[in-house]
Symmetry: C2
C-alpha cells in the first residue's frame, strides 16, 4: 500500500490520560482513536493487526475441532434471570429496552445464549461432545475503563463453550482448549504463563487457568515457582505448609500467660511494630467482614494480606466486603483498631500460620489495649482454620516445596474454565445418556481477549522510539522508504522492489510521501513494521539499506539480497 493514500496519522505527543505505554503508542502510532471512555475505533493499521490476531485464533480453534458460529449481542434478559446472573452482574451489564419495552442485555459473555441454544439442538449423548466458538464484539460497562484496549467497554473477544456428557469428557475438552491457547499465544509471540486461577463471578465447580502476558502494567499479580512449573494468580496461589520465615518467630519453647498491655492510639500493625520494636510476623491481624448478610472475622499474621477470594470461597458467599465502621460500632466488645480474635460474637476464620503460632500479639477488643502471649490453641476457637491469605514473594512453593515463589505482573489474555453444570442446571440443559437416563450437560468455557492482545503485544514489543511488532502480527511485513520521492533513480528502484514483493504476497507499505527523511524514519519507528528497506543515494548501484526494526542495525545490501532476505523472513514466520 502507498502511504500517501493511507488513512493514518502519527502524533508527537501522547494524550495525558494514557498511562500505559501500549495505550500511548497505539494512539501515537495511529492504530486506534478514542470515541468515548473505553470505546475505540480501530484505524486501518490497527484493523490489519486485529485481523491477523483473529486469523491466528481462528486457525487454532479449527485445528482444535471447535466450530465457529455467531451469536447476537442483544440478549433477552429473561435468560439472565434464569441463570441467576441478572442480579449478580451489576452495572457492568449494559441493559436496554426495545420499542416494545422488552429488556435486553448487551452480551459481556454468552453462557446463557449458548446453553439455551445447545439445549434445543442436542438431546442425545450421540451428538456430544461439541465445542463451539465465536469471535464477536462484547460489551461491559467497566467502572474504570483505562489503559486503552486493556480495559475497554466495547471489545473483541473469542469465546468458546464445550459440552460433554461427563467430567472426564470435560477434562479432555478443557485440556484440548488449554493446548490450543498455548499454541495461540506462542504463535502470537507473547511471553506468557498459564496460571491457576479463581473462578470469579462466572463461577464453576472445576479448575480454571488464566493465560497471562507478563507486563508491568498488568492488573494481576501472578505467582511463579523458581523450580517447578507451579504458577497461579495471586488470588488463587496456595500458601505452603512450611513457612520460610518461621526461624525468625519468637521462640516457642515456653508457654506464657495471656497478658493485656496499654497501647494508647496504636491502631495499625505498622504503629504496633514500630512502637514495640517487634516483627509483624509475631502480630495477629484481625479484620471483620460482611459476608452476604453475616459478619465474620479473619485472622492472619501481621506480615500477610487477607485474600478475600479465599475467604469468599470458604464461606460460599456471593459477596464480601470489609465491615464499615458504623456496623462495627454497633457490636459490643468490638473496638476498631483494637480487634483481636478472642471471644468474638461471630465466627473467626483463622489462617494456618496463625493457628501454628504459640505466642502472638493481637488487639484486646478493648480501647487502647493489646494482648501478648496469645496462644491460638488455648485462646481462640479454632473451628475455621484454613488458607485465607495471599502468599508472599519468596515463600516456598506449595507444590515442589523446593523452589521459592516469585511475583510478576500479568495481563489476562485468556481464560479457560470448567463450568460443570452451573449454567446447564439453571437452564435445564439436559441430554439422554446411553442408558436412557436424562442427565445434565457438563460445560466448559474458554475466552480470549482479541483486542486486548494488541495492547499486550505492544507492552512486550516496543522500545523508546515506538512499537517493534513481531512479523506475524505486524500491519505490514516491510516498510519501504525511498529517501526522496523526487529522485527518479530511488523511486524507480522502490517501485520495482515494491511490485516484486507484492507479487510474492509480501505486505509492503511504500512511504511515497513528500516528507523529510527525519519525519519518515520517526513515523516508521513509531509504527514498528519489522523489516525496513531504505532506498537512498546508492539506488544507482541497486543497493538498499536493510534494517530489522527490533535491532535497528543498518546494513547496505544489494536489492536482490534484500529481496531474498525478506522472502525468507516472512516465509519462516508462517
Amino acid at each position: 500500500m502507498r502511504q500517501s493514500t493511507l488513512f493514518h496519522n502519527t502524533l508527537r505527543e501522547s494524550p495525558s490520560d494514557a498511562e500505559a505505554v501500549s495505550h500511548q503508542l497505539m494512539l501515537r502510532a495511529g492504530f486506534i482513536r478514542q470515541l468515548a471512555a473505553g470505546i475505540y475505533t480501530y484505524m486501518p493499521l490497527g484493523r490489519r493487526v486485529l485481523r491477523k490476531v483473529e486469523q491466528i485464533v481462528r486457525a487454532e480453534m479449527e485445528r482444535a475441532g471447535a466450530q465457529e458460529l455467531l451469536m447476537p449481542a442483544m440478549q433477552p434478559t429473561e435468560l439472565w434471570k434464569e441463570s441467576g446472573r441478572y442480579a449478580q452482574y451489576g452495572p457492568e451489564l449494559i441493559r436496554l429496552r426495545d420499542r416494545h419495552d422488552r429488556e435486553f442485555a448487551l452480551g459481556p459473555t454468552h453462557e446463557e445464549v449458548i446453553t439455551s441454544l445447545v439445549k434445543n439442538e442436542i438431546n442425545s449423548y450421540r451428538r456430544l461432545p461439541v465445542t463451539l466458538y465465536q469471535i464477536q464484539t462484547k460489551f461491559r460497562d467497566e467502572r474504570r475503563p483505562r489503559f486503552g484496549l486493556l480495559r475497554g467497554r466495547e471489545f473483541l473477544m473469542k469465546d468458546a463453550y464445550s459440552f460433554d456428557i461427563d467430567w472426564e469428557g470435560l477434562d479432555k475438552s478443557y485440556w484440548n482448549m488449554f493446548e490450543a491457547y498455548n499454541r495461540i499465544f506462542t504463535t502470537l509471540g507473547i511471553n506468557f504463563r498459564a496460571v491457576e486461577a479463581d473462578g470469579g463471578t462466572i463461577g464453576g465447580e472445576g479448575g480454571t487457568h488464566e493465560f497471562m502476558a507478563l507486563a508491568d502494567v498488568g492488573e494481576d499479580t501472578i505467582v511463579v515457582c523458581t523450580c517447578c512449573d507451579y504458577a497461579a494468580n495471586l488470588e488463587k496461589a496456595e500458601s505452603g505448609a512450611i513457612d520460610v520465615e518461621e526461624d525468625d518467630m519468637i521462640s516457642t519453647d515456653e508457654i506464657r500467660d495471656l497478658e493485656k498491655f496499654y497501647t494508647p492510639d496504636i491502631r495499625s500493625i505498622e504503629q504496633l511494630g514500630e512502637a514495640l520494636q517487634i516483627n509483624p510476623i509475631d502480630i495477629i491481624k484481625t479484620v471483620v467482614f460482611k459476608a452476604d448478610d453475616n459478619l465474620i472475622a479473619v485472622a492472619v499474621r501481621g506480615d500477610h494480606e487477607i485474600n478475600e477470594i479465599k475467604v469468599k470461597n470458604y464461606l460460599g458467599a456471593q459477596d464480601i466486603s470489609i465491615a464499615d465502621s458504623e456496623s462495627l460500632a454497633k457490636i459490643p466488645g468490638i473496638v476498631a483498631g483494637f480487634i483481636g480474635p478472642m471471644d468474638l460474637p461471630f465466627p473467626v476464620l483463622v489462617d494456618h500460620t496463625v493457628a501454628n503460632m504459640t505466642s502472638g500479639i493481637a488487639g484486646a477488643n478493648e480501647l487502647n489495649y493489646h494482648v501478648r502471649n496469645l496462644n491460638p490453641i488455648r485462646d481462640i476457637e479454632l473451628t475455621h482454620v484454613g488458607d485465607f491469605r495471599n502468599v508472599n514473594e519468596g515463600e516456598s512453593c506449595p507444590r515442589c516445596t523446593e523452589g521459592r515463589l516469585t511475583f510478576y505482573r500479568g495481563i489476562e489474555l485468556g481464560h479457560v474454565f470448567k463450568l460443570g453444570t452451573k449454567y446447564s442446571e439453571q437452564l435445564s440443559a439436559n441430554f439422554i445418556d446411553p442408558s436412557g437416563k436424562e442427565k445434565t450437560l457438563i460445560m466448559g468455557c474458554y475466552g480470549i481477549g482479541i483486542s486486548r492482545i494488541l495492547s499486550a503485544v505492544i507492552e512486550q514489543h516496543h522500545d523508546d522510539k515506538g512499537v517493534t511488532w513481531p512479523i506475524t502480527l505486524a500491519p505490514f511485513h516491510v516498510h519501504l522508504i525511498p529517501i526522496s520521492i523526487k529522485d527518479d533513480k530511488q523511486m524507480e528502484l522502490a517501485q520495482k522492489l515494491y511490485h516484486l514483493l507484492l507479487e510474492q504476497g509480501i505486505e509492503v507499505l511504500l512511504d511515497d510521501r513528500d516528507e523529510r527523511p527525519g519525519v519518515k524514519f520517526k513515523d516508521s519507528d513509531l509504527i514498528g513494521i519489522p523489516i525496513r528497506i531504505v532506498i537512498g543515494k546508492d539506488a544507482e548501484q541497486e543497493h538498499v539499506e536493510f534494517t530489522l526494526r527490533k535491532h535497528n542495525m543498518k546494513e547496505s545490501v544489494h536489492v536482490q539480497e534484500a529481496f531474498a532476505r525478506i522472502i525468507d523472513l516472512v516465509k519462516r514466520s508462517h
Copy 2:
C-alpha cells in the same frame, strides 16, 4: 468435516411464522436459529456462508482502494444531536444509558462517527480523497422484524464512506463503489439490478442507487424498461411525458361547462367508475395530506397512485401523512369522499396527467355531489404542477420513450449515496483546499447488507427440496455421502476421496452419520451443497454417483473422474 460431529440439525417443519421461503429454508436447513424477534444466531453452516460473503465483499473493497477500519457500535448520542438525526431517527435507534447516565445509541449506520473521525485526522486536500469501510454488526429496532435475515434488528453490514474535495471527486468515488458493487453481486451469483432510488431519511443532495436482488418476497417494487437500461425504485421512477392510455381518454375537442351532479354515497373512485360506467382515467383523485404542520392536497388521475416520496421531496417536508378524518371535518368546504381540487383553502399539487386533462370528473366539495367537465386550466389554480404519482406498469419509459416499464419485486442488498455536505456541514468537517481556503468535505456513503445477502441468495437459489447454493457461497463444496457407514468398502473409498479432496483445499462435508440413506439425501437436499458424491454398491469398482444439486442429474463415474470434475468446478468458481 465429518457430519457426525457437526453442530447442526435439520427440521422437518418450518415454523409457522416464517413467511419467506428463504426464512423457512434457513431455519429448516439449520443455518440460523432465532434468539428473539429479528435477532438470530448463525449456526456453523450459516457462519461459513457468512464468512464467504464477507471475504468476497472485503476483496472487492480492497480492490477498489477502500481501507478497512472498525468503529464502535456504541456511539455517544451527542454526535447524533449534532447531525440532527437524533430526533429524526425515531424508535428505530436503540438508545441506552451507561453507569454514569451518559446516553449512547447502538449504531444503525456510522455517518456521524466517521465524519467526526475524518474531521480530526484530515485537514488538507493533500490527504484526499479517501474511502473507508468496515464490516460490522448494526442495530435497528425495526417496527416489524420479519422474513428472517431480510428485516432483522441486529445484522451485519458493510458500510463505506468516501471523502472528497469536490463534487467531481465524489462522482469518481461514487462510480468506483458502484462498479465494485456490480462486481460483488455478480460474484455472489445474484440476479440483481442497480436502480435509481430516493435518498430516504439518510438524505443527501446527490444521486443514489439501490442494488436490488429480484425476488417475489422483496418489499420494494422496481421499475425496469424493456428497451433501455433505465431502472428505478418505484418511489423514484419518473413518469414519462407521453401517456400510453391517452387515446382512451374522453375526447377533448369540445370544452364544456363545469357541471355538478348528484352521486349519493359514492365516495371512492371504484364506486364512481362502476356507478357512472366511466374509466378511472377520466376521474381526478384528490387527497389531503398533513405535510409537517401544514395541510396540502394532491390531485392525480383515478388510475394512478400518489407517490408520497415525490410529494415530500417537492415540498421539502420532513414528514407527510394522509390527513385524518378529524382534521378534515374541521375545514369548511371539505367533505371526505367528495373532495375536489377546486377552491381549496390550501395548496394543491397537481400531477402532470391531471394538468393535461381537458374534461375530468372530481369531487364537488359538497356532500353527495361530484362535478364533470372539470378543465384544470380553467378550474384549478395550477401553481404546483409536477410528477406526484407512481408510474404504472406498461407505461412508456421516461428515458428512451421507446420501451415500456415493467415491474419486479426487489430485495435491497446495497445502496450507494451521494451525501454531499449533509453530515460534514453539521459536524463542521472541513479541510484546507489548494488555495488555502477552508472548505467542507464532500461525502458519499455505501452500504451492503451482508447477512441479508444470505436470504436473497436463497430466495433465488432453491427448489422444493431445499437450497441450491452457488459454489462460491456454499458452506462446503462437496457433500460426500457413503450409503452405509457399516460397509467397509464404501467407507474406505469415502475416506480416501475425502482426504484427497482436503489436500487440494476442497471443502468437504462427509456424511458419516449412521442414518438411513433417505434421511441423508433429504438433509443433503435441504442444505444444498452444490456437488454431491454418493458412494454405494459400486464402491468395489471405485465408481461413485456424481450429482450437481442444481440439476439433480445422477451419473455413475469412476472416482478419478469425480475427483477431476470437482477440482475443475471449484477452481473455475474462484
